[in-house]
């Protein structure tokens, strides 16, 4: 397709709304279906980086509660959660296991209805699954009978979008996540990190303005994980999407996010909404700065206090 793209993919990938970058000739990314949404977006986002601006609510979680009832047993998973997320923001959600982080993701994705409160996406109440939220699950969830490219194209087929138009985009996304040349491989031939990259490409391919990531790197080794964090930051900066990133790891949360939402153990409540104002793009060395350490310490302290039984030794708990 584009021979130059392999040598210098970062500069060439027009993932951001079209108005941001210089005009591209023969743009493979111009897809008829998304024209409306795109222009609307870039108008709202304006400027050189979407998140720096609008203040428009991308995602509102209002007074959301979730109680699971099974027989006489009921579990209070989420307790009056209020979160407002602006367009283009990167939000991390941290908390101990079982604080309802993944439940929150399922509610936003419209996979389950909340038992209380409501969720709005771009000003519209969530009533069921919707195509403006892309999801990256804890495990890659790739279908073993489809090639990597076919897996990335799955949302396009299910949403009945123009297959041929999005194929080029799928290939560019695979280049972006470092899987160029693996289009025809099958998922089981890839390493865990590569599989998760393919899953990210799949979540990005249909232009959902919101990307939800549920502990996507939990199963990866520490080095791959750091590398993936740097890459997610780059992908986010170039795509201008609103990202909600759920994680166990406090350093990961601080490294990636504009805001870190700290949640308490069950029932999940928002303990703190912490703004991280460290400059971007952040590199791995920024994890050594005093500011970074201060944020990490603060969050760790909060979680330690909340989890009275858990004690202070955080090597024993899994954040």
């Amino acid at each position: 397709m584009n021979p130059v793209a392999t040598t210098e993919p970062r500069e060439r990938l027009p993932l951001r709304p079209a108005s941001d970058g210089p005009p591209r000739q023969g743009s493979t990314m111009t897809i008829p279906d998304e024209q409306d949404r795109k222009s609307e977006h870039s108008a709202a986002a304006g400027g050189e980086r979407p998140r720096a601006s609008s203040g428009r609510k991308s995602l509102s979680i209002r007074d959301v509660s979730m109680v699971f009832t099974r027989a006489e047993h009921s579990v209070h998973a989420l307790d009056h959660i209020d979160i407002d997320i602006e367009e283009g923001q990167f939000i991390s959600v941290v908390g101990p296991s079982g604080c309802g982080k993944s439940t929150l993701l399922k509610l936003v994705a419209g996979l389950r209805p909340p038992t209380g409160g409501e969720i709005e996406i771009l000003g519209e109440k969530v009533k069921g699954p919707r195509s403006d939220v892309g999801i990256v699950f804890q495990s890659p969830v790739l279908l073993p009978w489809r090639t990597v490219l076919q897996n990335v194209m799955l949302p396009i087929e299910v949403l009945r979008l123009d297959h041929s138009a999005y194929k080029a985009k799928a290939r560019e996304l695979l280049d972006l996540v470092g899987l160029g040349g693996f289009e025809k491989a099958y998922p089981q031939e890839l390493s865990g990190g590569m599989q998760q990259r393919a899953a990210i490409a799949r979540a990005l391919v249909y232009d959902a303005p919101i990307l939800m990531m549920d502990e996507p790197f939990g199963a990866l080794d520490a080095m791959t994980r750091e590398q993936m964090n740097v890459e997610v930051q780059q992908i986010w900066e170039r795509s201008g999407k609103t990202v909600v990133f759920i994680t166990h790891s406090i350093p990961e949360a601080v490294f990636l996010a504009d805001r870190v939402i700290v949640m308490s153990p069950r029932p999940g409540r928002v303990l703190r909404d912490l703004h991280i104002n460290m400059p971007r793009p952040r590199g791995l060395d920024d994890m050594l700065t005093p500011e970074f350490g201060e944020h990490v310490r603060e969050i760790r302290g909060m979680l330690g206090k909340a989890d009275a039984a858990g004690g202070r030794d955080d090597r024993q708990t899994n954040w």
């Binding site: 699950f137 969830v141 009978w145």
Partner: protein
């Protein structure tokens, strides 16, 4: 056909046997062939030494002679064709019905309560008991045998298809659910491909049963086919001929099984690589 098991042996034996070189191929081919000849040789020796008459236990050489001449004179061919046709045709019909019923039962859960009891009831009746009735209804021709085979093949396919269509990961369902996939899309993109390895497991059981089904049908009442010839050979005390016909049946079963494995490895290619991880 057997290249996979052999490959596994090679991997297992590699660290110790690779150095000696010939050791690997001796264990792979030499030893089994040696054991085969030793068994045949002692069989032959015992029969000759004890002077056991041919109508009780024929020596291997007599069986091989009957087997070879059966093919050379062309005597086996028409009967083999009849039995093979009955087995394959009945197997195809039975598998198709099993697959269709499985899909219907999973897609429309109310159908399970209506259909499934009959299927289980049918399965608990031995097909040997049904075969005479089917011969009365459909005659001595091939139809009655095809129906017996279809009935035998149906159940393993049905049970496996239902299991395969249902055992779908919740995460994969969520993935498609989050894209607001319809029930049909979930079926085509997820449930159906997911059920294929199970479907083939059912087919593998069914294909072996199909040969048995054809023979059972022929035993009850037929004018041609390998099963019919076995009965004839027994009446004539041509035990070497009967053994030769058993070999023909084994060959038929192996060929069908091998063909199916061949198709399976190309259709559900992902399962082989998955299990190695």
């Amino acid at each position: 056909m057997t290249d996979r098991p052999i490959g596994e042996v090679e991997i297992l034996g590699a660290p110790t046997e690779e150095a000696s070189g010939s050791g690997v191929s001796w264990e792979r081919f030499g030893l089994p062939i040696f054991v085969l000849f030793a068994l045949m040789g002692s069989w032959e020796g015992i029969v000759r030494f004890l002077e056991i008459p041919g109508y009780i236990l024929p020596p291997p050489t007599a069986i091989i002679r009957a087997f070879v001449s059966g093919f050379l004179t062309g005597a086996f061919i028409p009967d083999l064709a009849v039995t093979a046709f009955q087995a394959v045709f009945g197997f195809l019909i039975g598998s198709f019905i099993g697959l269709s019923l499985g899909v219907i039962i999973v897609l429309f859960p109310t159908m399970e309560r209506i259909i499934y009891p009959y299927v289980v009831a049918l399965q608990t009746v031995p097909k040997v008991a049904l075969a005479p009735l089917l011969v009365v209804w459909f005659g001595f021709g091939m139809t009655s045998k095809v129906i017996v085979v279809a009935l035998v093949s149906l159940f393993p396919v049905l049970v496996n298809v239902i299991a395969g269509l249902r055992s779908v990961d919740q995460e994969r369902l969520d993935l498609l659910g989050a894209l607001s996939a319809t029930r049909w899309q979930i079926f085509w993109y997820l449930r159906f491909p997911n059920s294929l390895p199970y479907f083939f497991a059912g087919l593998n059981t069914a294909v072996v049963l199909s040969v048995i089904g054809a023979i059972v049908g022929e035993f009850v009442g037929a004018t041609q086919g390998i099963g019919f010839r076995i009965l004839q050979a027994n009446y004539n005390l041509d035990i070497a001929g009967a053994f030769a016909l058993f070999m023909v049946l084994s060959l038929l079963g192996l060929t069908l099984h091998g063909t199916l494995k061949f198709i399976e490895r190309r259709t559900v290619f992902w399962t082989a690589t998955q299990t190695t991880h």
